[in-house]
């Protein structure tokens, strides 16, 4: 099918903590999962069931023990679980955005540049990228006096909105969202919900973790239940 954006098959993940008595923590096994373009899927399940782990695996931030994560990239498929680093980076640059829960602040780099960077990586002229970044920050109610400051001193909610602006600006065909509204007030949550709905209408495939039931119901088409892992008897 042409409208499939992500296809996960037989995915297994365990953490082996070598420095802590070699403990093995099994997160999931034999996980299958599909996402289509234009739909928003919420990962769901109790705390610790592996929602964030799955989201990070989709972005190849975590490795997996077995299985494949095929994503649509420039008209072809790339298996994020087994691709070369430069192929994964190319997917991240052009096809898949990720909004983490927390912004990773780089010393000295102002908010405006952080938001504009994904556009500049697409070869977009710096001035135009900055203009688009300004519009995005304004839409997310980040006060203009903060735009030229490095976000290290911003509040949690301001940092999260900078992170969201950065994640949405490049209009990637696939978006991964890790609790994008956790630190936001109601007004800003509504703005983020609008952004998500707009992207969805434009055909973006979205996978997210939403603890806030209200926003989940507003933006998601279905939930993907992650069963807590049980050791086979």
């Amino acid at each position: 099918m042409n409208d499939i954006a992500i296809e996960v098959g037989g995915l297994a993940k365990q953490f082996r903590l070598h420095t802590q008595g070699d403990v093995a923590i099994e997160v999931f096994r034999n996980l299958d999962f599909q996402v289509r373009f234009g739909e928003c899927v919420a990962l769901h399940g109790p705390s610790g069931c592996g929602k964030s782990t799955l989201l990070r695996a989709l972005y190849a931030n975590y490795t997996v023990g077995a299985g494949s994560i095929r994503v649509r990239h420039c008209g072809a498929w790339v298996d994020m679980a087994n691709a070369e680093p430069r192929a994964v980076l190319s997917v991240r640059r052009h096809s898949m955005g990720y909004v983490s829960q927390f912004l990773r602040v780089i010393p000295r780099v102002p908010a405006l540049e952080i938001v504009a960077e994904p556009l500049r990586l697409h070869g977009i002229d710096a001035a135009w990228a900055r203009e688009r970044a300004s519009a995005m920050l304004a839409r997310l109610n980040v006060p203009e006096r903060l735009w030229n400051l490095a976000p290290a001193t911003f509040s949690g909610g301001e940092q999260q909105r900078v992170n969201i602006a950065r994640g949405f600006i490049a209009e990637m065909p696939i978006l991964l969202l890790d609790e994008p509204t956790a630190a936001l007030d109601a007004a800003n949550r509504a703005i983020v919900a609008d952004l998500i709905l707009e992207r969805k209408a434009a055909g973006t495939a979205i996978v997210g973790i939403f603890h806030d039931a209200e926003i989940r119901e507003q933006v998601c088409d279905r939930m993907f239940e992650i069963e807590p892992f049980k050791v086979a008897a």
């Binding site: 975590y62 680093p85 980076l89 190319s90 780089i106």
Partner: protein, 258 residues
């Protein structure tokens, strides 16, 4: 994506007597890629860098570089003259200690101009103009152009060394602990500058460091070395956030959270 790696390393080994410094190292570096090599002192990372940058012949294995005219060529199979030309034009080398990479008794401008002259620049006005422009890019006040770098702070010396290397528009730069020995605030400024320049110029870089924060910021991918062997490789964020090898886990978990 280009079809050919810029640097190809095949089963490179180097021993000091019977003691292995670097064993069986194999990897490709692609144009525009920044690779970090991490590991503690004595892990063999500096020996590896010296072998890659044509300063130390490996005991076995090959280092191939994509030369402009002959494609992938074994750098230790070239004549001394060819190798020297490469080092002056296509390659840059940033030493940990800027005093090893600069000439302290000539002016800052001359330190930059010297590499330009080595590739054939002769017009004094152009060379000086280029030097002024590069001082600006590495955030050194233009008025310091005639000062000797011995009068510069450590951070300024390091930025000057970077300008001296980049002025000839190399395709690959080897860096050995580029932020070692600098104050934390100076380190942050240098890292940010390096990050910016590397992406603007589309440079390929091999950067050796024991500082995981440096590779987090600069490197696309990582190679973790221990006792001369590569124990783990992968995307930088993957290796740091989900380390697999016991040694990498120890390394990552040993970093103090500030």
């Amino acid at each position: 994506m280009s079809e050919q790696p810029l640097l190809r390393v095949e089963q490179l080994s180097r021993y000091y007597g019977a003691r292995p410094a670097c064993v069986d190292v194999t990897f490709d570096l692609w144009p525009g890629e920044v690779m970090g090599v991490v590991g503690e002192s004595g892990s063999g990372k500096t020996t590896l860098l010296n072998c890659l940058s044509a300063r130390l012949k490996p005991d076995s294995g090959r280092v191939l570089y994509d030369t402009r005219h002959h494609g992938l060529t074994d750098i230790y199979g070239m004549s001394e003259a060819e190798r020297r030309l490469l080092m002056r034009t296509d390659w840059g080398l940033v030493h940990q200690n800027p005093r090893d990479g600069l000439r302290l008794s000539v002016s800052a401008g001359a330190n930059i101009g010297e590499r330009l002259m080595a590739v054939g620049a002769r017009h004094y006005g152009n060379i000086r103009q280029e030097a002024v422009s590069w001082l600006g890019r590495v955030e050194i006040d233009e008025e310091r152009i005639d000062d000797q770098p011995r009068a510069f702070s450590g951070g300024m010396q390091q930025r000057l060394q970077i300008a001296r290397n980049l002025v000839t528009k190399p395709r690959i730069v080897f860096m050995d602990e580029p932020t070692g020995g600098l104050d934390v605030s100076v380190q942050a400024r240098l890292l940010d500058l390096l990050r910016e320049l590397v992406s603007q110029l589309g440079l390929s870089v091999v950067v050796v460091t024991h500082d995981l924060a440096v590779v987090r910021l600069l490197a696309h991918r990582l190679m973790v070395m221990r006792q001369g062997r590569v124990v783990e490789t992968g995307l930088t964020d993957q290796v740091l956030d989900d380390p697999q090898h016991p040694y990498t886990q120890l390394l990552v978990s040993s970093v103090l959270q500030a």
